[in-house]
Subunit: 505 residues, 2 copies
């Protein structure tokens, strides 16, 4: 039997809303494993952050330094190293700071898929690792899977104490799998096939193969996605594998609103633009009955839409009986300022499916009851120690009120970027963000490259949104605070000043 | 600089050929990390196997037993449990034997994707885990990636001492990524686009978007696959994710030979059948210039072809300038009797790309030099301890000559299955296999279910090839020996005897 109770998600969601940011805590279960008393978790994190380096530190004459260069050059003997930035010194990295092989120390605001939420060598997690080292050894040697063919005695405990805490409101079922977006799409397609009375793979034995052979491929269910206006090769979402596949499949696309910034100046025009896209969506769903679902991501690289847009989108999907899949693979975990980014839309009816990935120590999706689950074709390996680690990560987030803090730091970064955008309009524009996900677009590729290099030379690791993009991304950890925001902004200002001098030449 | 030298692969390949099964050892590097002296690895494994249970042991009155039932029932409150078999007791599992929560002990010949090559609680790996527990803790806390944006100082050592040992002959480059089949296909498609002078994503900045918009989707490169004759929804290969996607994409398929068994009786007819399929392949490749590559898997569920077929296929792909991708996601690691199954074809020119997956503690592909690598879109996480573990697994395989032993056990299983097939022709047929991958097909679904249940009730975990299949799979670990083969065959005989009695009713 499932224990129905409030989840950490609900408390996280609550404290993500301005009105009640001091929200009380709710737990999914009274029996709650914790490796630390709650107070000591707070003390440990405070001390940890106090001992962080005061500033980035650069000791090599160039970046990457000679030791990194040597390692990258050797690796290039067997593999492509174009994505490699520098060689890392794992044991010397600390908090928000990444140490490299040459002894440089960088403020890391480029944590890729945000899979490390609580910082390098976090003492609470190190202490957990000490306590669970026997289980760790067994996990390595035996590779048991908590939710594979042979669940273990700890599977239930983990489900009740951790997975139930993660549950978004209105999502009562969970699928753990390695390709969550693909499996979620299969679920939607299976549902649509039944709606359209088409034979499914599971019906195979009862249908003759000739029937299936004659089924017209153009009638098969499809998934709709949002798309940029200008470029058919890029969807308006963060670059994910399915974008590529889309090239070869007939999935229909919908225009995503193209808002104008700053938002307060263009509020009327922007509302019209959103309405236009919503009408297009409704028309498409009415016309194309093959559409099984719409996939959306809450944080896009170059676009965003209002909460009102998503509320109306939800309404349309419900009226047209099409599933709404929210892809939180890059946003679950709190960096958006709420544990799941989509909760900031405050939808009256939750989405049908919410997909998460590695930042929650595993991949899968929650879905509302009543959807039929196809067998996931590749189960994700969930090991015991990662499970306990996720439990502790949730404790750290909650005990230390990290979501409130990271939202505050995010506001600081965005305000700072907006000021810099006013000051250097020829270099950067369109500063934007959600929680601590922040971004700003450069006028040219060259300027973007030059700013990123200049930031690295000042000890700040920033990211860019794909190799062909002019957008600079700030994607820090949840322990990114005011102090780090100042550090980042000061150096970003210097980089722009230097760039303007070059640009003036 | 890359050290060119013989690899363990070459020695493994050599000892996989009958002529020189006592083959000498070759190493990729003189500096070779080992946590045990070679002799103690052999002693440890011998003692380990001596202490295995003599027989399966069943103590619960039913299977799954009450404790397993309780755990599965609780888990069903949140997730689908249809794929779950029983609850496992990890610490009591040992060697080839899987312990469940009710104290039952099963001979496990259903190791799924064969990711655990050397047995449960293998003492050599446990000892490695003790010695590397500090690194293990750091891996858990910091999740460094040996080949991500920030390789570590150990990345080079691992590449030189482990990855170079894995290198198949003629494959000088490696890509480590999370979706190796997808990335390999992208590599082939990118190459084909350049051949066809089509704009690639990397050229985007130099092409106007209107040019790309007008590119006809039907001209885009495609990947060819082999297919069953009878059923367009199933390809002739082990069920893998891309099969599903294929439904929605225009990739062409080729008929795979349908050989008749027993092979010696039908050798003439089978040769004709293979020639027919090869001619079809050549015609398709000549006609359809979009085809960038052919994907094949060396072990299929319900089919197989001769080494000669693959030799000629390789010749055709080279003549038509199409890449040959060998998908060893389920076969790399030695269970086929050679470290990579495709080496048993003894191709004069190696394939262009060889894909591996989790049984090598990571996923990716080797490819020949000269192919241009697109950026892998999702890097696979390679942690330090898994890396060392793979190194030790290779030591265990080599020191104990496990490939020779597992080939011998495989022959025993196949001979036994063939005898049983003669004895019970109404129940099973078409026994087949490669190395220790063995399979036999049941006459009906009901018989298949009943035999699997009967085997479980005798303490043997066997697998089936997908939920809609009538094929029983034997996919043990590399420490599966003669003793275990006897244990399996004796009980399989009893299951058939019992089934015949039911069937006679």
């Amino acid at each position: 039997m499932m224990h129905r109770s409030s989840t950490i998600f609900q408390s996280l969601q609550r404290c993500s809303l301005p009105a009640s940011s001091s929200g009380r805590r709710f737990y999914a279960s009274k029996k709650r494993p914790s490796t630390q008393s709650r107070k000591s978790t707070v003390d440990a994190l405070t001390k940890y952050l106090e001992n962080e380096p005061q500033h980035p530190k650069l000791v090599s004459n160039s970046f990457p330094g000679p030791k990194s260069e040597e390692i990258l050059s050797k690796l290039s003997g067997l593999m492509d190293t174009r994505h490699m930035i520098a060689s890392m010194d794992v044991s010397s990295s600390y908090g928000n700071f990444l140490a490299d092989a040459d002894g440089n120390m960088f403020l890391d605001v480029n944590t890729l898929t945000s899979s490390l939420l609580c910082g390098y060598n976090n003492p609470v997690l190190t202490s957990l690792a000490e306590k669970t080292s026997q289980a760790m050894k067994s996990d390595y040697v035996n590779r048991p899977n908590l939710f594979g063919s042979y669940p273990t005695a700890q599977s239930v405990e983990y489900m009740e104490n951790v997975l139930m805490r993660l549950r978004p409101e209105g999502m009562d079922r969970l699928v753990i799998c390695r390709d969550p977006i693909d499996t979620a799409q299969r679920m939607a397609i299976l549902r649509q096939k039944r709606k359209l009375h088409q034979p499914t793979r599971e019906d195979l034995s009862t249908y003759s193969s000739s029937l299936i052979e004659t089924a017209d491929a153009s009638d098969l269910p499809v998934i709709a996605r949002f798309q940029y206006k200008s470029n058919p090769l890029l969807t308006g979402i963060l670059p994910l594998p399915q974008d590529y596949r889309q090239l070869f499949s007939p999935h229909p696309t919908i225009q995503f609103p193209r808002l104008r910034y700053p938002l307060p100046v263009f509020s009327e025009k922007n509302r019209e633009e959103e309405t236009r896209c919503l009408e297009e969506t409704r028309d498409l769903l009415k016309k194309d009955t093959r559409i099984a679902a719409i996939i959306i991501q809450p944080v896009l690289i170059d676009r965003h839409a209002s909460a009102d847009f998503y509320k109306q989108l939800r309404q349309i999907t419900m009226e047209e009986d099409v599933l709404m899949i929210v892809d939180e693979q890059q946003t679950a975990g709190g960096l958006s300022g709420s544990f799941y980014a989509h909760t900031q839309w405050e939808l009256p009816t939750p989405p049908d499916i919410v997909v998460f990935n590695n930042q929650l120590q595993g991949s899968g999706f929650f879905h509302r009851d009543g959807l039929r689950v196809p067998h996931p074709y590749r189960l994700a390996l969930t090991d015991h120690v990662s499970a306990w680690q996720l439990s502790t990560v949730l404790d750290i987030i909650e005990d230390n009120d990290l979501l409130t803090k990271v939202r505050k730091a995010g506001v600081k970064v965005r305000d700072g970027l907006y000021q810099l955008e006013q000051q250097y309009p020829d270099l950067i524009h369109q500063s934007r963000g959600l929680g601590a996900f922040c971004a700003v677009t450069c006028s040219t590729d060259t300027i973007c490259n030059s700013i990123i290099e200049s930031m690295q030379n000042q000890g700040i690791m920033v990211g860019r949104a794909g190799s062909a993009s002019k957008t600079i991304l700030v994607r820090p950890m949840l322990i990114f605070g005011d102090r780090h925001a100042d550090m980042f902004l000061e150096r970003f200002g210097l980089a722009l000043e230097k760039e303007l001098a070059n640009y003036g030449d």
